[in-house]
Subunit: 147 residues, 2 copies
């Protein structure tokens, strides 16, 4: 049974950590020719492979029209391309191009470098706990948002 005071502490830490990560993420993105929503889209394409506009909209919690505009700009910048399904040519998917893949991997690498600096004073045990507890938290949040 979770105590109210623990929930208060965890909520506050998460709120603060999420805010710092967002701010740090913006500073990192300033070094790259992509916007924060483009980063989120590239991240999903990098993780899940080719996606339809509908699937990408669901993942990004955006209206399809907003995602279409986003993909248009990304296609113009040669980060992604639209490809027709070989078996059903009515189905169009967004495919990550080499330039987009390179950028997303560099951005994630910079985020990892930042985090590595943060974790340098953590003991092996603390890092193992953090890794495990964040993984479980993420899984619970994912399954809760699907309900």
């Amino acid at each position: 049974m979770v105590e109210n005071q623990q929930v208060e502490h965890i909520e506050k830490s998460l709120r603060k950590v999420a805010e710092i990560i967002k701010q740090k993420g913006r500073v990192i993105l300033n070094q790259f020719p992509i916007t924060p929503p483009q980063f989120v889209a590239l991240q999903w394409l990098n993780e899940l492979g080719d996606m339809t506009i509908g699937d990408l909209s669901t993942k990004m919690y955006l209206a399809c029209s907003t995602t279409t505009d986003l993909v248009d700009r990304m296609e113009k910048n040669e980060l992604v391309e639209r490809v027709k399904d070989q078996n059903d040519r009515r189905v169009v998917r967004i495919h990550l191009l080499e330039k987009g893949e390179k950028i997303i991997q560099e951005v994630i690498k910079k985020r990892q470098d930042y985090l590595k600096g943060i974790l340098q004073n953590f003991s092996d045990e603390e890092i193992a706990f953090l890794e495990k507890s964040l993984h479980v938290l993420h899984q619970e949040m994912e399954s809760s948002s699907k309900e």
Copy 2:
């Protein structure tokens, strides 16, 4: 010594958790008459008490002119008021009003309720680990961003 694979896992979990928290936070805010930047400002005023525009700008990583516009709108909506320092009337601070305080506390309560639901399947031990590791992570991030 933190291993690269651990950093990769922690970065990914944090990125995903921060994104879900942001999205969930937006859904919660839809029930209240404030915008996401107003939420961040109210949160700082609730936590630190009266603040100058300069201090609030620093905390929010915004230009002073942007913060001034934000505070103008919040003052119009009776969430905050500007008060002159009793000892030095050239110094103006932003003060949280009762309406703003009530809203920020209700928003944070809703975020805690959401998190309580997420944590219901966690063991006492897991919750204690999560609480501690997120607290340490937050502290390290705060001190790193001050460097």
